[in-house]
């Protein structure tokens, strides 16, 4: 076990570093109530206090502890990222795989729908969706699901088309397997690697979109500890309280950097052409 882990670290040092960052992120998110010295919405301290021993990251415009909000922000980001990606990519993957296998009008039709959805710039689509849905954390997730589904459908469709053309699918069909059985037993398991890659690479994307939406004031409600929202409030007081911008920005950059590193090496590991001696 440890020998294997050492081998992974040697083969993918950047990925291992990413994994450590992600692990820290997950721990912070899980332990937020214990780690944060104050509540994320707790006000009552003096506003715009510079970083000090008592408030390591200072306080914001209504006197909330920035450190506590950054810590709770990890939980919000990870929750939104994971939930939207799991729902969105899974939905898109099923959609893509099934339509690819069924083929015909279902396939062409669904691809045209994907075309239309992808013709709208993602942040604009999300912005309009949020206008329609109303501002809340769960609606951000819903908007992200709608954003992620078409991309996943497109990618998994092309993967499934490749798998469907292989002899073992033909063999299963010749053996009298029903369509449902072919999809569930043969097609889906063989698309799993691409699915995993899509999930890992899109979590950071979802986190950034959530933060961007909150930044332009269309995401989570302003009192929620969203890193993007905190940054937007910080920009209003850029000269008096730059810490309101630096710390949330640093947190999100670190999280995204770690997730990208980890996602990159998971992609390399699952791509047999790039896999070097890691049996």
């Amino acid at each position: 076990m440890t020998a294997r882990m050492a081998r992974v670290v040697r083969a993918q040092p950047l990925g291992a570093a990413g994994a450590v960052v992600v692990l820290v992120l997950v721990l912070v998110a899980l332990l937020a109530p214990r780690l944060a010295p104050h509540g994320p919405k707790e006000t009552g301290f003096a506003p715009y206090l510079a970083p000090s021993r008592e408030f390591p990251m200072g306080t914001d415009q209504v006197g909330r502890d920035v450190l506590s909000r950054v810590i709770w922000g990890a939980r919000l980001s990870l929750y939104v990222g994971l939930a939207s990606v799991l729902f969105g990519i899974t939905l898109g993957a099923l959609w893509g795989v099934v339509t690819a296998y069924v083929g015909g009008a279902a396939d062409t039709g669904s691809q045209r729908v994907v075309d239309c959805l992808m013709a709208l710039p993602p942040i604009i689509l999300a912005l309009s969706l949020m206008a329609a849905l109303g501002q809340s954390v769960n609606n951000v997730i819903l908007a992200l699901v709608i954003l992620l589904t078409p991309t996943a459908a497109r990618t998994l469709r092309s993967v499934a088309l490749g798998v469907a053309a292989t002899p073992y699918i033909e063999a299963a069909e010749a053996g009298g397997a029903s369509r449902v059985r072919v999809i569930v037993r043969h097609l889906l398991p063989n698309c799993l690697a691409s699915y995993i890659v899509l999930v890992t690479t899109n979590i950071s994307y979802a986190i950034v979109v959530e933060a961007s939406l909150s930044f332009i004031g269309a995401g989570a409600p302003p009192d929620e500890p969203s890193w993007g929202g905190m940054l937007a409030q910080g920009i209003q007081a850029l000269e008096t309280a730059p810490w309101m911008v630096f710390f949330p920005g640093l947190a999100i950059s670190l999280a995204v950097f770690g997730l990208n590193l980890l996602g990159d090496s998971i992609r390399d590991l699952t791509d047999p052409r790039l896999r070097g001696g890691l049996g």
Partner: protein, 320 residues
């Protein structure tokens, strides 16, 4: 070639129609329409009066008719270049577009030029000196560019400008035709911030393409016949590796118009993005519809041009 062009054109129209329908329906799912917002803002007293007012405004704006009728009328108008009246600004949406579109377009073009100006050379150097110090530096730089969210890069640049150069976001936008120098001074910072973000994938793609191409037989032939290394790299390798890079830049460029929202917000550029945010929050449907439609249109046109260009440049696509 002609069948390819035709097939590609046939895809263009339905996608545009579909996208416009999507945005149309989505906006009408919004609870609380413009009529309610307008009436409750003025704060009249009796709710019965308010309800009658709401009905009247809805009727004036045509919001009480079936959604299909509304859509057909909108399309008929759009085809004649008439996107209706803005509910809030009380002037034709076309005027707003005419004012905002060139600004965002200029910012987008400036961004792309800046991004290409250093991303492509960096990618080439990175590939030519693979695993050298410069290669590592450039890879680190592009990886960090991918990880720093746009709004953070933008905020950092803004902070640097405000703190060290006493620079303040302009109160009034100056157009290029009025005063080119002043105009560029206003747009160069948001363009730089956005360019840093998109240059990362361009550098990575240029690098990996170059690495692949320099291993091709024709590059070996070029070397074997005694060409100078510069000629080999620039005339043979770079030209052949730029094809996918150009497609990628086109794809990005098409989306950029919508992606500029954040930079426009931070640097107070009165472009399409900032107008869109405002229109969305005010439920100004005609403005939102027209803006999103134009963004989708630009994206699809750029995609079309890139695809056709690609097919023209690379015969393998045409006959596939």
């Amino acid at each position: 070639m002609s069948t390819y062009v035709l097939r590609r054109l046939l895809l263009f129209v339905p996608t545009l129609i579909g996208a416009s329908m999507l945005i149309f329906v989505m906006l009408r799912l919004v609870p609380g329409d413009i009529a309610e917002i307008l009436v409750y803002q003025t704060g009249s007293e009796s709710s019965a009066v308010q309800r009658r007012q709401i009905q009247q405004i809805r009727h004036e704006l045509g919001l009480d008719r079936p959604i299909v009728t509304q859509y057909v009328e909108w399309v008929a108008g759009a085809l004649r270049g008439d996107f209706g009246q803005s509910y809030v600004q009380r002037r034709p949406v076309v005027d707003i577009l005419r004012e905002r579109f060139p600004r965002s377009m200029e910012l987008a073009i400036l961004t792309l030029l800046l991004a290409m100006a250093w991303a492509i050379p960096l990618g080439v150097v990175s590939a030519v000196r693979q695993n050298g110090v410069l290669d590592y530096l450039s890879r680190l730089l592009s990886l960090s560019g991918l990880s720093l969210p746009l709004f953070f890069t933008g905020a950092l640049i803004l902070y640097g400008l405000v703190r060290f150069f006493r620079w303040l976001p302009p109160l009034e936008f100056v157009s290029f035709t009025e005063n080119p120098w002043e105009n560029l001074k206003q747009l160069v910072w948001p363009a730089l911030a956005q360019a840093y973000y998109i240059s990362a994938p361009i550098t990575r793609l240029t690098r990996s393409q170059m690495l692949e191409v320099v291993r091709q037989d024709y590059v070996r032939t070029a070397r074997a016949k005694g060409l100078a290394e510069r000629a080999v790299i620039y005339r043979h390798a770079l030209r052949n590796s730029l094809l996918p890079v150009v497609t990628f830049i086109g794809w990005w460029g098409g989306r950029l118009l919508g992606g500029l929202v954040i930079m426009e917000t931070i640097f107070v550029v009165p472009g399409m993005g900032s107008a869109l945010i405002q229109a969305v929050s005010q439920r100004d449907y005609p403005t939102v519809q027209a803006m999103v439609f134009v963004m989708a249109l630009v994206f699809l046109i750029v995609n079309l041009v890139v695809d056709l260009l690609y097919a023209w440049l690379d015969p393998r696509i045409r006959y596939a």
